[in-house]
Symmetry: D2
C-alpha cells in the first residue's frame, strides 16, 4: 500500500515519519505546492518519493491513500478531489470550514466505501483512551459536567480564530466521552488585534438534560494550561495534559441528594474518597492513529475519528462563531 | 467606642476575635436570635457582653457600630434598622438580595453620615493590595481580560446559589482592580439537586471596549481552585490563592501588534520575559478590615469597600440570575 | 482527673487548649516560672487554674498528670521530679540531652508504674498512621531505604542545633515505621554563625542489613520542604507534609532481580504501576495524642510514643552529635 | 573539517545529528564495533560516511576530530589512541575510570596542543549558564552550601554504579559554579542487587572553609527529581530541571549574623524578599556544546569543560568509591 502526504510544512513531517515506519506501507509519497518544502522533506527522509504535480498524484492509482495536512481553507476541496479519485483520506482537523462541506465529504466517502479519518489526535492518546474506558465501565457514573481549559501565549493563527484552532481538540474529546449530543451553544470572544480573529473565547454547550460543557480557549494567557474536569455522578476525573506523569487523576468524590425526609436538615451529603492515578502507556498518539488508519483502509472498518464525528465538531464550531456574531445562544 | 456583633454562628466569632483585639474598641457586645450560640460565644470569649433583645441593642446609644454576620436574606432589614438607629454598619457580603435594597442602604448611610462597609474581605488581603498597586502604577498596562476560577467540592448553601455564594469575592476584586464598569452579563448555571439553586455556573461580563471578564464558580469540583488571571497589555498577573507562598506571579509576557507594513508577514510579536514573585505580608485580612472600619468610623472617611461597590456587586449578581432565567445576555 | 501544663510559652497553649476540651479531664492547671506568661494564659483560657510555686505543684496530690513544654535543658530534671511525685508525664521532645538521662526517666516511670509519653507528635497524624498501616499490612514489602528532608529558612534555636531541633520528628517516624534498629550513624553539619550550633546537617543511619536511612535538615533553605520517601521492596511511599491534600502517595513501583540465567541480558526488571492517594482524616494530631495520654493514664496501657522510643531518638541524636565532632561513623 | 563519531548506540546518534547540522563540519564519519548499529545510523542519517575498521579511522588524516560515546571502560584507551593520532577529542563523561588515566589524557592533549572536551553537557544548558552569571556577578554572594538531588526509578547500569552514572552531572555543575575545590569526601551507598554496583548513594563534599556540598543519587526512587539548591550569603538559587518553565528561581532570602552587642537577644536576622524567575533560552545544550567544540578546534581555545575539570570529577568519583569501601572520609 502506497500513501501520499499532502502538505509537508509544520505537521506533515510527523505524518511522513510515522507512515515511513508503518510496516504495511510500501512507499511514502510527498506533495506540496511549495517545492522548497518538498526538497527539504526529501533531505530529511531520503526514502520518500516526491510528486511534483497535483494531477499526477490524483492519477497515480498505486497511491491508494492520502494524508492531508494543508491550511483549513483547502481541506474540503483537496479531500473531495482525493475521494473522487478513489483514495482513502486522513484529513487534518478541523475537517472543513462549514458543516455542509463536512457532511458532503462524509457522505462522499461513505458512498464510495472509502475511509475518511479526521486527525482528532487526542482521541489516540492513552489518557483519553483511559477516560473512555472509565466512562464505559460505569465507574464514573453519569457525566454531570465537562470543563476544559486550553490556554497559552500561543501561536496566533492567520486564517482561523482561537476557537477553530484549539476547540477541535476539546470538542472531539468531549464528544468521544459522552453518549449524548449538545443541543445549543453560547460563545463569547474578543479579537484584541481588531482583525476579526478572536484570541480569547469561552464556549458553553447545552444538552437536553442538565449536563453542561464549558471551554476556555486563549492565545493570550501567561501560563500554559491544558486541563479538563469530567464531573461524573459517581467519580470525577481531572485530566492535566501538561503533567509528564499523573495526567489522569480519578477522584472518588461526589455528592448525593438525601431523601426528602432529611432534606430540611441537610440537602446534600458529600463523598470524599481516595484518588487513583492510573499508569498510562507512553506511546505516541500519531503512531497509533496512523496504524489505525492503515488498518481501517485494509479491513474496511470504521475509524474511531470518522467523518461524522469530525462534521459534528465543525457544526459546533460554526454555531459558536454564529453565537459570537449574534450575541445569543445558537441551536445545533 | 463600643461595637456589637450581630450573628455569632459561622463567621461571627472571627469578627468577635478581631474586634476584641482592636485597641480603639472598648466593649464588644454580641447578639444572636439563637441563645445557644450566644452562650457559646461567651464561653469562648468571656469578656464579651451579651445582648438578649433586638430592641435593647437598637436603643443602646453607647453601641455606635455593629457588624452583621447573619444569613443574606436578613441583611437589608437588619442593616436598615441599625442605620436608622444611628449605628455604623459592617455588613456581610452580599449586602442584599437586590440592587434596589443595596442602593437604599447605601443612600441611607450617606444621608445619615454613617459608615457602611461591606465585608468584601479579599480586598484587604496583601495579594489584592499588591495587584492594585501593580495596576495603579501602570506596570500592567491596560487590562485586556480578567479570568477567575473559584471551585471546590464545597458547602452547598441552602438559601443562595453558587453565584451569590462565591462570585461576590471575585466580582469585588475585579471591580476594585478595574477602573471601568461592565455593561452586560451572560450567565449559565445548573442545579443538579433540582432545587433551583445552581451548584455550577459561568459568568461572562462585557465592557464598552474589548475587555472581557469571566468567572467559573462551582460547588461540585473534585479539586479546590482559587485562581485569577489578569491579562494586561504590558504584563500579566496570575493570582493563585491556594499557594501558601507565591500567591502573586507577575509575568513579563504579552504580545504587540506590528505595524501595517509588516502585517502580511506576521501580525503579532510576542514578548516573553522574566517572572517576578513579590513578597507579601502575612497578615490576616479581617484584622486589617476591622481596623479600617474602626478608623473610618472615627475619622468619617470612606471605606475601601463601601456600599456603592457592594451595590454594584449585587447589581451584577441580580443580572446574572436574570440571565440564567431568560437564557440571554442582560444589560447592566 | 486533673492535669497541669508546665511551661506555657510557645507550645504550651496548644496543650492547654487540648486538655481543656478533653472530657475526662476535670481541671487544667498551669505553671510557668514567668508570671507574665501565666497571666497571659489565664486571659486566653479563663477556666485554667494558675499555680505559682513549683513545690505547690509537686505537693498537690489532686494533680495526677503533667505535660512539660519547657526548654530541652530542663526536661530531665522537671520530668524526674514529677515522676518522683507520682505524676504521669507527657514530655516535650527531645526528652533529654543524653541517652543516659532518657533511660533513667524511662526506668523511673516503669518502676513507679507511671505513664511517660514523649510528644513525638507526628506519630499521631493520620498520615503517619496510614503509613504504619501500609507497612504492617505487608503492602509495602521490606523497607529498603528511608529518605527524609526537613528544611526551611527557619527559626534558629539558641539552645540546640538543627539536628536536636528537627531530627526528632523524622527519627521518631522512621523508628515507628521500621521494625529494625539502626546500628551506626554518620553525620555532617556546619554552623554558619560560628556559635557551635549547626544550621544545616545530613545524617545517615546504618542497619545490620542493606537498609539505609538518610536525613537532610536545615534552617537555611530558601524553600520549605517536609518530604519523606519510604522505599519498600513491593511499593514505595512519598509523604509530603506540605501538601494540604495528597500528603501520602503510594507508588506501585519497584524493581525485581532476575534469575541468574537471564542475568547477562538484563539484571533488573522494573515494575511501574498505578499511584494511589488515600484519603486522610483531617484531625489535629495533638488532640489525638492528648486523648491517648489520658487514656493510657486511666487504663495503664503503654503509649504509642513511650519513653523507650524517645530514648532511642536521643541515643541517635547524641551519636550524630559525636559523629560530627569526631568526623567518623559512630556505633549505636 | 571532518569529524568521526565513535560509538553510535544510545547517545551517539544525538552527536551525529548535531555535527551534521554544524556549518563548519564537512563530513561526518561514524564508527562502531557493532556493524548493525553502523547500518542503522546510515539509514537514519544517509549522509554519514561509515568506517569499518579502527585502524582506517586512526590513519585517515582528513578526520581531524572525533567524538567518543562508548562505554566508560573504553574511554581512556580510545581517547588516548585518537590523541596520539593527532585528533581532537570530544569525550563522553566520566572521562576515565581513574584520576591517573584522566590526568594522562589531559596532559597528552595539552602536549600535543589538541582539544580535549569532556561531555559535561549540563554546563552548556542555559540554566547552568544563568547560575554561573548570577554567581559571577556577585548577586548570590559567597556560596555557603550546595545541595543536589538526582533520583529516579532509572536505568540500572551494568558497568558502573549510580555515583559514576549520575554524579558527574552534579559534580561538574558544582565545580563550574564554585571557585573553590573540595578537600575531602564521604560517601555511603547500597547495592540492593548484591552485585557491587550501588543503586542509591549519598555524597558529602568538604571544603577548607565551612562550605558544604551534598548529593543524593538514586536509581530506585518512585519519583523523578533533578533539583539543586545553591545557598549563597546574599541570595539562594533553586534549580529544578524537571520544570519545563521556571527552571531557575532566585530567592532574595537569607540570614545575617547580628553584632555582638545584640547577640544575647537574637543572634540572627532573616531576610525574606522577592523571588525572581529569569527567562531562559530554549536551546539544546548539545548543539551549543558541539559548536563550542568545533570552535575550540578551529581557534585553539580552551573548552569550558576541559580535561582538567573532567579529571577533577573523576578524582571525586574515585574518592567517593574509596569512601564507601573504607567507610570513612577520604581526602582529595
Amino acid at each position: 500500500m502506497n500513501v501520499c502526504i499532502i502538505g509537508v510544512g509544520y505537521w506533515g513531517p510527523n505524518l511522513v515519519r510515522n507512515f515511513l515506519s508503518c510496516s504495511l506501507v510500501d512507499l511514502v509519497y510527498c506533495y506540496d505546492k511549495d517545492s522548497e518544502k518538498l526538497n527539504s522533506i526529501k533531505q530529511k527522509f531520503p526514502s520518500v518519493v516526491l510528486i511534483n504535480s497535483w494531477d499526477e498524484l490524483l492519477d497515480d492509482k498505486s497511491i491508494t491513500a492520502v494524508a492531508i495536512a494543508t491550511p483549513v481553507s483547502t481541506h474540503y476541496d483537496l479531500a473531495k478531489q482525493c475521494l473522487l479519485a478513489d483514495k482513502h483520506v486522513l484529513l487534518e482537523k478541523p475537517m472543513a470550514h462549514s458543516y455542509q462541506e463536512a457532511i458532503e465529504l462524509t457522505e462522499l466517502a461513505k458512498s464510495k466505501q472509502l475511509i475518511l479519518l479526521i486527525d482528532h489526535i487526542f482521541i489516540y492518546t492513552s489518557a483519553v483512551q483511559k477516560m473512555k474506558e472509565l466512562v464505559n465501565s460505569g465507574e464514573i457514573g453519569e457525566i454531570n459536567y465537562f470543563d476544559s481549559t486550553r490556554i497559552n501565549l500561543g501561536l496566533f493563527q492567520h486564517d482561523v480564530n482561537v476557537i477553530w484552532d484549539l476547540a477541535p481538540h476539546d470538542l472531539s474529546i468531549m464528544l468521544y466521552l459522552m453518549d449524548k449530543h449538545p443541543v445549543a451553544v453560547f460563545a463569547t470572544g474578543v479579537d484584541h488585534l481588531n482583525n476579526g480573529l478572536e484570541d480569547i473565547a469561552y464556549l458553553t454547550l447545552y444538552f437536553e438534560d442538565k449536563t453542561i460543557a464549558h471551554f476556555h480557549l486563549s492565545w493570550i494567557s501567561p501560563v500554559k494550561v491544558r486541563k479538563m474536569i469530567v464531573g461524573g455522578s459517581k467519580k470525577m476525573i481531572v485530566y492535566d495534559d501538561m503533567m509528564s506523569d499523573e495526567k489522569i487523576k480519578i477522584y472518588d468524590k461526589g455528592f448525593d441528594v438525601l431523601d426528602e425526609e432529611v432534606k430540611n436538615e441537610c440537602l446534600v451529603q458529600y463523598r470524599i474518597g481516595d484518588i487513583h492515578v492510573p499508569t498510562l502507556l507512553n506511546s505516541e498518539a500519531l503512531t497509533i492513529e496512523v496504524n489505525h488508519f492503515i488498518d481501517c483502509c485494509v479491513n474496511g472498518s470504521q475509524p474511531m475519528t470518522c467523518g461524522a464525528q469530525g462534521a459534528l465538531v465543525v457544526k459546533i464550531l460554526e454555531a459558536a462563531q454564529e453565537s459570537i456574531k449574534v450575541n445569543q445562544k445558537v441551536s445545533l
